[in-house]
């Protein structure tokens, strides 16, 4: 098949388990023009440069009419992930005020105890079972509980959120297929329903504030604060981003460790290496493979190729992370790799908002799992994958124990 079809092959479900050979092919070209008008970029230095380039917009309004995604510019409301400065900066700054330093330096750290309890309770429940599904039994419920707790969403509501989240995630795709319109409709519906629910919750938090982020966001009038639409949209985004990615981090992590038993053994003996190992996982099997919604506002040059203004640019983070120009032995999992400036959490102004929390969740989950699961073994390799090529990870990860 011709190189022009690379994006199609990357999104093809049959390549989900191992897209890495496709990325290798992608790296032969600096910016590969696809049939649908998108440019696919997968070399480390090009991706890194574009992530820091002030001519590259995250706002789909800058797409030329007819280009993929251009018709979706108005969907979803003002989530800062889809906005450019200065709006992006204002919203992200206000949201950060409730999440991290300097305003709230202790937010993530203060959750350590709770996280540890959650993790150990979930592993308690696995005890005695011969076969577990790491996704449904652990990797999904854990971050969902965490993000519910952080935002202040009642845990009982989680099943409804699960359905909405699935619909929203399904619509994040770098190409269109026959179901695209249906997926889009479902996502809009979910966004609306979830938005109404969130609006109610925010109202409630305004009256009865707790120590959660929604309460904090609703009460913060710094810089004029967030209006209700901004609040709703951004809390939905945080909810989705706050768990769909961490599920993959944990599942990809266990999968990688089970495929590398010597490294698993080493980490079991040296849990203090886990922070480094999680960085390597973010490089080796990142939870987000593609950034599909960048658009240049003027013609830009990528490695000698001119990408015309208004064209979709798809940044293949997972490909950049395996670029031999940047990483020695890129296809090897090296838990204590030095100089590991991966792009697994992005870079630049849109770099992962929840990174400190995601890292901590990944470290705690993996340490507890390998410490306590007796003799874990993969049941099938590769496992079945979720359909999404952007947020890539196994749908199930069956593991035998004992």
């Amino acid at each position: 098949m011709s190189r022009a079809q690379l994006l199609e092959r990357i999104t093809d479900q049959s390549n989900r388990a191992n897209p890495y050979p496709l990325y290798e092919e992608l790296r032969e070209t600096p910016a590969a023009l696809q049939d649908n008008g998108s440019y696919l970029v997968g070399r480390y230095y090009d991706v890194a440069a574009l992530l820091h380039d002030p001519r590259i917009s995250s706002d789909l309004h800058n797409r030329r009419a007819g280009m993929p995604g251009a018709d979706r510019a108005d969907n979803g409301g003002p989530a800062f992930i889809r906005l450019d400065p200065p709006e992006h900066d204002r919203l992200r700054r206000l949201t950060t005020r409730q999440f991290g330093p300097p305003h709230m330096p202790g937010r993530v750290d203060s959750m350590r105890g709770e996280l540890a309890d959650l993790v150990s309770t979930l592993v308690d429940n696995l005890e005695g079972k011969d076969r577990i599904d790491l996704v449904d039994d652990f990797a999904y419920p854990f971050p969902v509980s965490v993000i519910c707790r952080l935002l202040g969403v009642p845990r009982e509501e989680e099943p409804r959120f699960h359905v909405w989240a699935d619909a929203l995630v399904a619509s994040i795709e770098p190409t269109r297929d026959s179901d695209s319109d249906a997926k889009m409709k479902a996502a809009q519906q979910a966004q609306m329903e979830m938005g109404m629910f969130m609006a109610g919750l925010i109202e409630e938090r305004r009256k009865n504030p707790g120590d959660d982020m929604l309460s904090g966001l609703a009460a913060d009038h710094h810089d004029g604060g967030l209006d209700t639409l901004e609040l709703v949209t951004n809390s939905i985004m945080l909810f989705i981003a706050g768990h769909e990615t961490t599920v993959n981090l944990i599942t990809n992590g266990m999968l990688t460790l089970l495929r590398n038993p010597d490294e698993l053994d080493r980490l079991k003996r040296h849990p203090e290496l886990m922070p480094l190992a999680v960085e390597e996982l973010l490089r080796f099997e990142p939870p987000v493979h593609l950034v599909p919604q960048r658009t240049p506002i003027v013609d830009v040059e990528v490695g000698g190729v001119t990408v015309p203004k208004g064209s979709p640019i798809v940044l293949a983070l997972a490909s950049a992370n395996r670029d031999p120009e940047r990483f020695t032995a890129p296809d090897r999992f090296v838990p204590d790799r030095a100089d590991n400036q991966h792009l697994g959490l992005g870079s630049g102004i849109h770099s992962c908002f929840g990174a400190p929390l995601a890292r901590l969740e990944g470290q705690m989950a993996l340490n507890e799992l390998i410490r306590r699961l007796p003799n874990p073994r993969l049941v099938e390799d590769p496992p079945p994958y979720r359909p999404n090529p952007v947020l890539r990870g196994p749908r199930h990860l069956m593991v035998d124990c004992g």
Binding site: H52, P54, P85, I297
Partner: protein, 454 residues
């Protein structure tokens, strides 16, 4: 790499430690000696004017961990007093001397003291360069002084003023130039820094110097007399008037070492007085003066954390590699500072400019990038709370991109207004002549030091 080569590093701080670490990482297993005049293991300086002074980081946490097992002989608490290049020995203050095959000089800079000893000895007069300096000043600030005077609004002085305001202390800053940071960032951007200080309640006085510090008879500071004839009651004065390079101990060594630093090539090999490159003497960090090809090969000394690291790594590499395997240090200079709720980051050399333009963001919101140019080429960029964009500008600087930038960017509402960057006349910063050439026959001609005119 089994080696009998003896390596000595003089200066046990950021550059020295980093070089030692890198030597070991690269496989050098010969004898390694590290000489440092401070009694402590290497520590990190940037927190000394920030978290440590705020009282939120205990001074002993400002450490610099070595990444590898260094297996080095440490000679701490003793200064090197001479470099003997005939015998290849470092002479120490305790009379001892350490022989070497290769030596690395990383003796950095020290704070420029208040010029009048009887005034600088007053209780309440501080400088900030070392751990002890910072610890003592932190103690004094914690005791809640009535009024603090910061003399000099460079990065260190401005950071200290910021800390004082954050601690709720009343503070006056005097600056000889027209605005804080003007010497580093030029007048246009410095004007923003001035607004920041005033907005945070600093009593900022520019175009003013301190004429005299007055004690109370018991040796305690009590008043400062300013050049405009006014006086201020103060109980703490922090002298932040720049630094002096620790090169005096190299006088007589035959190296091109003086008040501007030790000149070296792009591979960190020191020049001797005649401008010949040495093969066994290396320099890194705040004392090094190195040519940068992007800045007309001018010899430039930089007091930046990242520069010390970069040069240390190159020096270490080149100490154990020969000829074509040697590496040049070609990093684009970069530094950061945090003050008055703003993160300042810089790439390139802003002083190497004649023009400046705000290329992104909003000056009013203190969220912007200013791009600097010199004769039509982009040479630097400075970000206020906008540091995540600077990698882009680093790329532009590396590719010698045109200035003013001719492309559209997001988030730029004002029309591009290119202005003079308003840097002070470089002549003011000059140290005057330091050497002369003597001798007549080609075999006789050589360079000698002259003492700078007062």
């Amino acid at each position: 790499m089994s080696s009998d080569m003896r390596v000595v590093i003089v200066g046990a701080s950021l550059a020295g430690l980093r070089a030692a670490d890198e030597l070991r990482r690269l496989g050098f297993d010969g004898p390694l000696t590290i000489v440092g005049d401070e009694p402590y293991e290497p520590y990190d300086r940037p927190p000394l004017s920030k978290a440590v002074l705020l009282g939120i980081m205990p001074p002993e946490h400002a450490t610099l961990p070595a990444r590898t097992d260094l297996d080095a002989k440490w000679r701490l608490g003793v200064p090197a007093t001479a470099l003997d290049l005939e015998d290849n020995r470092v002479v120490l203050g305790d009379g001892d001397s350490v022989p070497f095959d290769k030596v690395l000089l990383t003796t950095g800079v020290r704070a420029r003291p208040w010029p009048k000893p009887e005034e600088s000895d007053l209780d309440g007069v501080f400088t900030v360069r070392t751990l002890d300096d910072s610890r003592r000043l932190d103690e004094r600030l914690s005791a809640g002084p009535g009024h603090v005077l910061v003399i000099g609004a460079g990065f260190t002085g401005s950071e200290i003023a910021s800390v004082c305001r954050e601690r709720g202390l009343s503070v006056t800053v005097t600056e000889r130039g027209p605005a804080p940071l003007v010497g580093a960032l030029g007048g246009v951007v410095a004007a923003v820094a001035a607004d920041m200080q005033r907005d945070h309640g600093v009593d900022l006085r520019c175009g003013i110097t301190v004429a005299r510090l007055e004690g109370d008879g018991q040796g305690r500071l009590r008043r400062a007399h300013l050049s405009d004839g006014t006086a201020l009651d103060v109980d703490v004065a922090v002298v932040a008037q720049g630094s002096i390079r620790n090169t005096e101990w190299l006088a007589g060594s035959g190296l091109a070492a003086g008040p501007r630093g030790v000149a070296c090539d792009a591979g960190c090999r020191a020049f001797d007085l005649n401008g010949l490159v040495t093969d066994n003497v290396f320099v890194a960090g705040d004392i090094a003066r190195q040519p940068h090809p992007l800045y007309d090969y001018q010899l430039i000394a930089l007091e930046h954390w990242g520069n010390a690291i970069g040069q240390a790594e190159v020096a270490a590499h080149n100490m154990i590699h020969e000829g074509l395997h040697r590496r040049p240090h070609l990093d684009i200079p970069a530094f950061w500072s945090s003050q008055f709720e703003v993160n300042i980051k810089s790439v390139g050399i802003p002083t190497y400019s004649d023009q400046v333009v705000v290329s992104q963001g909003s000056v009013e919101e203190r969220r912007f990038v200013a791009a600097y140019g010199f004769r039509g080429r982009l040479t630097a960029a400075v970000a206020f709370n906008h540091g995540r964009w600077l990698d882009f500008y680093r790329g532009l600087i590396e590719s010698a991109a045109a200035f003013p930038p001719d492309f559209a960017v997001m988030d730029r509402t004002d029309p591009w207004e290119v202005r003079s960057s308003e840097l002070p006349d470089p002549a003011i910063l000059s140290h005057g002549p330091t050497v002369s050439v003597t001798g007549h026959l080609p075999t006789e001609r050589h360079v000698e030091f002259v003492s700078a005119p007062k």
